[in-house]
């Protein structure tokens, strides 16, 4: 108990108290005007919906792309495996601004891809793709694929393959095994991978700070409120809704584990 006391004090003072104050500020005033503003139709709700939509799309796509690499890294032995794993996990250390910069290098106004396409076709194709909602999506995908691969790989390593083998000896075909053995056992791992990638996207700020033009996301609105309009109450309410949405989806998907 005494050993955990410093942690308790730190969390109380530096995490729970500030977040509590944020919640209190959001509810301050008769009828919680700040919270009403955020939830009413308008730019804040739009930004929240954008965040939800973008994060969900990116999480699902990242997992779809990551299933095969995670499987290969977990189950196959081949030369260069560790090299590939290291290369894939390198972006885990990148903050959002770096990812945003990489997207500009690839898909910006004079990015690598538009320049190559212009050389090849003689016409400006896909120029400034980085600054569209799809460019933002690609940025999110860039930092989510490594998370998804690493999480799924550790799940695949712990997977009880002998159950699958047992089902096969009992005469189950590949689809029956997938649907009735593999997927039910893998479901919690898939859920927690979704939760991890989803919450990483919901909080992501740096990518949108560099790439977002008209398509705003919630963390960006918080920043604009704070620094542009000095509107602490609305910024706080927006943060609160964002944090609660993220925590709720996280809980739902990971089924209370972790």
């Amino acid at each position: 108990m005494l050993l955990a006391l410093p942690l308790l004090l730190f969390l109380a003072a530096c995490v729970l108290w500030p977040l509590g104050r944020l919640a209190a500020a959001a509810f301050a005033g008769p009828g919680a005007p700040a919270l009403r503003t955020v939830l009413a139709a308008g730019r804040y709700r739009t930004a929240l919906l954008h965040s939800l939509f973008l994060s969900a799309m990116a999480a699902v796509s990242a997992i779809a792309l990551s299933l095969v690499p995670a499987w290969i890294l977990a189950r196959e032995r081949f030369a260069g495996r560790n090299l590939l794993r290291t290369a894939i996990s390198l972006p885990l250390t990148f903050s959002g601004v770096l990812v945003g910069f990489l997207m500009i290098v690839l898909f910006g106004r004079v990015g690598a891809l538009p320049t190559l396409l212009a050389l090849a076709t003689g016409r400006p194709l896909l120029a400034s793709l980085a600054y569209t909602p799809f460019g933002l999506f690609l940025g999110y995908l860039y930092f989510e694929v490594p998370r998804a691969v690493v999480t799924l790989e550790s799940a695949f390593r712990r997977f009880p393959w002998e159950l699958d083998a047992a089902a096969r000896t009992l005469g189950a075909g590949p689809f029956a095994r997938l649907g009735r053995v593999v997927l039910p056992i893998a479901a919690p791992a898939l859920g927690s991978t979704l939760a991890i990638t989803f919450s990483a996207s919901m909080g992501s700020f740096g990518v949108a700070l560099l790439l977002s033009r008209r398509f705003s996301v919630a963390p960006l609105e918080v920043y604009t409120e704070l620094t542009g309009f000095l509107n602490d109450a609305v910024a706080g309410a927006l943060c609160l809704v964002l944090a609660l949405l993220t925590l709720a989806v996280d809980r739902l998907l990971s089924g209370g584990q972790e």
Binding site: L7, L84, L98, M103, L106, Y142, V145, S204, G206, C239
Partner: protein, 268 residues
């Protein structure tokens, strides 16, 4: 000639994995390459200083962002030992001396992973705006790095026999001797791994740092943002390379130690 389908599946899978790695590496190589290619290749530059060679570029970046680099180094130097001091004893208590509310406290310590960094930064600013910024930055970084320490040390503790400490006690070892001669040696890999994870996350952290930073106290990732928006491509590329220099060896070491706890990475 017939190729076994199993073999085809394996090769396709490996090719897919290699393609994923390549897709993730390509922009990094392109961006870093900008710091080492001929300056004239990129046309007009916005910098007043003469930046012709790569060495000029790096000197220029160090001149304009040297302070920020120093602040990031100081912050990391404060966050790594503090995260261990707070996290390691708590992880031990959670695994070996459960107390009422321990599960709740552990969940609270892991919760920041699902809270957007900007939310915590706003909360810290509203509650303790008068506190020196360096302390606020340290607190924000600790909130996002403690979960990594807790998970790493918990996993390590789960990996060895909980009967060792009672055995040492029966043999007459005092609490300090148990820590020094039993627990510390067993936990060394976990402590090294935790330090590396905390270092990697703290070094790259942007969401909390950017809001809490002041013009006098900027971290290097915050400086990266300024560079990406204000400087020419070769300068931005050189700054990116400087950012990556300590990250890559840390990551290699994390991989060598099997850092699965890193899968959440840092908030982008």
């Amino acid at each position: 000639m017939r190729i076994a389908p199993r073999r085809v599946a394996r090769l396709t899978g490996i090719a897919w994995t290699a393609a994923t790695a390549l897709a993730l590496l390509a922009p990094i190589l392109l961006a870093a390459g900008g710091a080492f290619s001929h300056a004239a290749f990129y046309g007009q530059r916005s910098e007043g200083a003469p930046v012709e060679t790569s060495a000029d570029l790096f000197r220029y970046v160090l001149r304009i962002w040297g302070e920020a680099l120093l602040h990031s180094a100081e912050l990391v130097a404060a966050v790594v030992p503090l995260a261990l001091l707070l996290g390691v004893p708590a992880a031990y208590a959670f695994r070996r001396r459960p107390f009422p509310g321990a599960r709740w406290l552990e969940a609270a310590a892991l919760a920041p992973l699902a809270v957007p960094g900007i939310a915590l930064a706003v909360g810290l600013l509203e509650t303790a705006g008068g506190v020196p910024r360096f302390l606020l930055l340290t607190a924000g970084h600790l909130a996002y790095t403690l979960p990594l320490v807790l998970k790493t040390v918990s996993n390590a503790l789960a990996g060895f026999d909980p009967g060792l400490e009672p055995a040492a006690r029966t043999l007459g070892a005092g609490p300090f001797e148990i820590v020094r001669r039993l627990l510390l040696p067993l936990l060394v890999p976990a402590l090294v791994l935790s330090s590396l994870l905390v270092f990697a996350v703290s070094w790259g952290e942007f969401n909390v740092s950017f809001l809490l930073a002041t013009p006098l106290l900027e971290t290097f990732p915050a400086a990266l943002y300024s560079t990406y928006t204000a400087n020419s491509f070769p300068v931005a590329a050189a700054a990116t390379v400087i950012f990556l220099v300590p990250v890559v060896p840390a990551l290699l070491a994390i991989q060598a130690l099997g850092g699965e706890e890193f899968r959440r990475g840092l908030q982008a």
